[in-house]
């Protein structure tokens, strides 16, 4: 490969909009009534209203409109697959160009962040206390909404930094580390106590939380990265760890010159995109182009980045010499009948072994189901924590949301934010329905019962 090594900096890919750019784009919005973008957004941000506020120069009001529906408006503005959601539903998309809703949203939220404005205040204290476990998007969302309603919230995070996937798993090209940290700062200013390096691992841990708090919201994400069963798998770089290193310690990120990425989901594309900053990158996928789980726009973005694809290829062995990767041995795959997921079953072609030379293999084949669910004694559904429409788990006073309950729909940041919001609403309803009462005196002859309603 004679192409020069790419050394593009690891920075946010889309530039911020200038005031002028935002004003022109905002004025292009039709201000639809009962707008499809609003409906398409999983958090149902009143998009026409926030865009109109940009057009009228009411940036602070615009940010309020966004953040009232979505506490993580700054994150979602950057990571949402807008082509599949709001922008995909824009009425101008049919024979024109949809409004750049994501970038406008970022413009409005950045406006208040740059001025260090906080939109919300902690609500009147209710005297109730909630534990939120996991500080990813679902956890931050739930904690923020509860604090706005006046509840005391403690946010528990097992890692050193809060933010979950926003901090560790979304590539810098889309969301720099500072964004989730800024959202966490808003939380602490609402009085939320953030306890990092604190893991909830066992049933007694959960019982202890329930003893200290009136309710618990679990936003624990998914489980470990599964082994692929490759021979020589110890030489493989895990995609999520690779992305994490690219965000937190980019100066020491090891990237080969000839990189293979196994998988075809969004994380695989992300890992490939990072590797592509310095290497020739080929993605290896056992099925075909039509079966990729990555969003179409992500796939097309990867092609534009110069990432190559090798479909119908099943890796079986990582080849190495003296601990250094030298290639990936693969089998050719033919596609058979549809499997349970509705996709064609890959059938390995015996004797079709071939070697793809490379000096690094990165895998991104998904994460396991949340093992914690069973550990905590919660009912599960296909391995995910089972919840009802209000995100209530099988355990008393325990709610859950985000990827750990994502048995239906796509696991995405914005869906997690909505879970956090809906759970907060349900928790609030529950807590206020059983508000502590100290002043009621009851005449026993009337009912004999204390009605805390």
């Amino acid at each position: 490969m004679d192409e020069p090594r790419r050394t593009a900096p690891l920075a946010e890919l889309l530039p911020p909009m200038t005031e002028q750019e935002a004003a022109v784009e905002a004025n292009r919005c039709l201000y639809c009534y009962d707008a499809p973008c609003l409906q398409a957004c999983p958090t149902h941000i009143d998009i026409p209203t926030f865009i109109r506020k940009i057009a009228t120069g009411n940036l602070r009001g615009s940010a309020r409109t966004i953040l009232e529906s979505n506490f993580l408006g700054g994150t979602c503005a950057r990571v949402c697959p807008v082509e599949e959601l709001c922008e995909g539903a824009c009425v101008l998309g049919k024979d024109h160009t949809p409004i750049q809703i994501g970038r406008l949203q970022r413009h409005a939220v950045d406006h208040v962040w740059q001025r260090d404005i906080e939109i919300f205040r902690k609500g009147e204290p209710t005297g109730r206390s909630v534990a939120v476990v996991g500080s990813g998007p679902a956890g931050i969302s739930c904690a923020g909404e509860l604090a706005k309603l006046g509840h005391d919230v403690t946010l528990y995070e097992k890692r050193e930094l809060g933010g979950g996937l926003s901090t560790y798993g979304i590539i810098v090209l889309r969301e720099p580390v500072e964004v989730a940290q800024r959202e966490l700062r808003s939380l602490t200013r609402l009085g939320v106590e953030v306890r990092t390096n604190t893991e909830i691992r066992t049933r007694p841990d959960l019982q202890a939380l329930l003893a200290r708090h009136d309710a618990v919201f679990l936003a624990v994400g998914l489980g470990a990265v599964p082994a692929m069963g490759l021979v020589g798998e110890e030489h493989v770089t895990d995609g999520l760890s690779f992305i994490e290193a690219s965000k937190l310690d980019p100066d020491h990120l090891h990237v080969g010159r000839e990189v293979l990425v196994i998988g075809a989901g969004n994380t695989a594309v992300d890992a490939a995109t990072i590797a592509r900053r310095g290497a020739d990158v080929t993605m290896v996928y056992r099925r075909g182009e039509d079966q990729m789980t990555a969003y179409r726009h992500e796939y097309e973005f990867a092609l534009l980045e110069g990432i190559r694809y090798r479909f119908h290829t099943q890796p079986i062995r990582v080849l190495s010499e003296h601990g250094r990767v030298t290639g990936l041995e693969c089998l050719r795959v033919e596609l058979g009948g549809l499997d349970a997921s509705g996709r064609p079953t890959p059938i390995l072609v015996a004797g079709s072994e071939f070697v793809l030379p490379c000096d690094q293999v990165i895998t991104a084949v998904g994460q396991e189901k949340p093992a914690l669910a069973v550990e905590l004694g919660l009912e599960t559904e296909k391995g995910y924590i089972r919840v009802d429409d209000d995100l209530r788990t099988s355990a008393e006073r325990v709610w859950a949301g985000g990827d750990c309950v994502r048995v239906r729909g796509s696991a995405s940041t914005v869906m997690a934010v909505q879970d956090g919001k809906l759970a907060a609403r349900a928790i609030h309803a529950d807590l206020t329905a059983n508000a502590p009462t100290t002043t009621i005196t009851v005449t026993p002859s009337v009912t004999g019962e204390v009605n805390h309603g």
Binding site: Y33, P36, A55, E87, A89
Partner: protein
């Protein structure tokens, strides 16, 4: 290709587009460039009494990002020495004998002063004189400009002073800052004017600065009204043009009218022609984009004439004037309803909210199965596919009063059309009705009986 040339009270120009008397016609060097760009004529920025200008002078109105929808100016007439202007006028006319060179003038209300300026203008070889009776600021306080145009008697007298000594055509430029523009128009006719032009700028305050609380424009912290022009004033100009064009005295005298006020494109120009303008004056559009706009003005107008089978621009002048009518003569039985083309509709539902909130509540939302639904959404449904199941606005034609608000707010061209439908009632105008049944205009019970009798249902 249609012939764009005109003859305006004896003033000839290769096309009907003249730069109006304003900053774009401030100097010979500018007008030479404008003529090189293709302008058919120019009305020289008003010359006359000595003045001093102020800084700053313009305020602009932006509407949702569209700049210069309106332009307000507090600039006075030419502040260049009279001699310099006169010398340059002569030079421009010598260089461009085929273009219309008209000189706008404004002097003290003294017949000798007017006679003097008329003589000096004629000495330049200019094709005509335009009397500035409209300047709404700075000059009116000195008894000139609008101070003349607003008083029909002064208007007639000064016009007579000028026409009695002038040998070239005299155009009287009317101010819109009056209650009834036809009265100064008639006064100008009585004073012997050869032509009229309208409108001058409209009194306006463009805005207030929300940080300093100063008016815009601000002259050392103080503000005042100025003269308003630009696209925003076009509808007012069209109205005043139609009023003057249908004034019997003006029509009888056969005076040509030079129309202006917000002409930005050839489309605007064609509308002015149809309502009776023979020549067209442009200022704000040139101040926004430069002289180069003349290319599309002439090209577009020519193509439009060709498309409609007109050989000459002269053929369309006043074609719409016979349609200028009034409420009393409208057919009360004429009925139109809105019809939405579902294939063109993009489901922005702006028509729905406009009709439902502010008009006559006759647009429903239908889901893809044709069932009437209320606006709103299911909180647990999301994704771009919501656009596919989105309800479609449908007009309940029986209840539609044909107000056309929906067609006005629809962002898609020709998606909502106002369609003529039979009302089932005999034609009758308000004037006829009030002659034949005067009771209906005075008594609600009589009106109700009449409605019932002819089948008018107000919901």
């Amino acid at each position: 290709m249609a012939d764009l040339s005109i003859d305006f009270a004896g003033i000839r120009s290769p096309n009907p587009f003249w730069l109006a008397s304003a900053p774009p016609t401030n100097s010979g060097a500018q007008i030479i460039r404008a003529f090189e760009a293709g302008w058919g004529g120019a009305v020289w920025k008003t010359i006359g009494a000595p003045v001093l200008n102020i800084s700053n002078r313009y305020g602009t109105l932006s509407v949702y990002g569209q700049r210069v929808v309106g332009l307000n100016n507090m600039e006075l007439i030419s502040d260049r020495p009279l001699e310099v202007n006169l010398r340059e006028i002569a030079e421009v006319k010598r260089l461009f004998p085929d273009r219309a060179v008209i000189v706008s003038a404004m002097v003290e209300s003294d017949p000798r002063a007017w006679a003097d300026i008329v003589r000096r203008i004629e000495d330049t070889g200019a094709d005509g004189i335009e009397l500035n009776y409209g300047c709404p600021h700075g000059m009116s306080e000195r008894g000139m400009g609008a101070a003349v145009g607003q008083v029909p008697e002064y208007c007639e007298q000064i016009t007579r002073w000028v026409t009695s000594v002038a040998s070239i055509p005299v155009i009287v430029k009317l101010t819109p800052n009056v209650t009834d523009i036809t009265r100064p128009a008639q006064a100008a006719v009585a004073g012997g004017a050869n032509a009229l032009s309208l409108i001058n700028t409209i009194n306006s305050v463009i805005g207030v600065n929300l940080d300093t609380f100063e008016l815009t424009p601000s002259v050392g912290g103080k503000g005042s009204h100025g003269g308003y022009a630009g696209p925003a004033v076009k509808p007012i100009a069209l109205h005043l043009l139609s009023a003057v064009a249908t004034t019997p005295d003006v029509a009888r005298a056969g005076l040509p009218i030079s129309g202006m006020g917000g002409i930005q494109t050839w489309r605007d120009a064609a509308e002015f022609l149809l309502l009776g303008a023979t020549s067209l004056q442009v200022c704000t559009a040139a101040m926004h984009y430069g002289y180069r706009i003349i290319e599309d003005l002439t090209d577009g107008l020519s193509n439009w004439l060709d498309d409609h089978g007109f050989a000459s621009v002269r053929d369309v002048v006043g074609l719409s004037v016979p349609r200028v009518s009034s409420f009393g003569d409208f057919d009360l039985s004429s009925r139109v309803v809105a019809r939405i083309d579902p294939d063109k509709c993009i489901r922005c539902n702006l028509c729905y909210v406009a009709c439902n909130d502010t008009a006559h509540q006759c647009i429903d939302l239908h889901d893809p199965a044709g069932i009437r639904v209320d606006p709103g959404y299911d909180e647990r449904v999301n994704g771009k596919a919501v656009a596919d199941g989105r309800p479609q606005p449908v007009v309940r034609e029986d209840d539609c009063v044909g107000c056309a608000l929906c067609a006005g707010v629809c962002p898609v061209d020709a998606c909502i059309e106002m369609v003529s439908v039979p009302s089932g009632r005999e034609s009758v105008t308000w004037s006829q009705l009030t002659r034949e049944q005067p009771a209906v205009t005075q008594d609600w019970a009589a009106m109700e009986r009449y409605r019932e009798e002819v089948g008018i249902d107000i919901h």
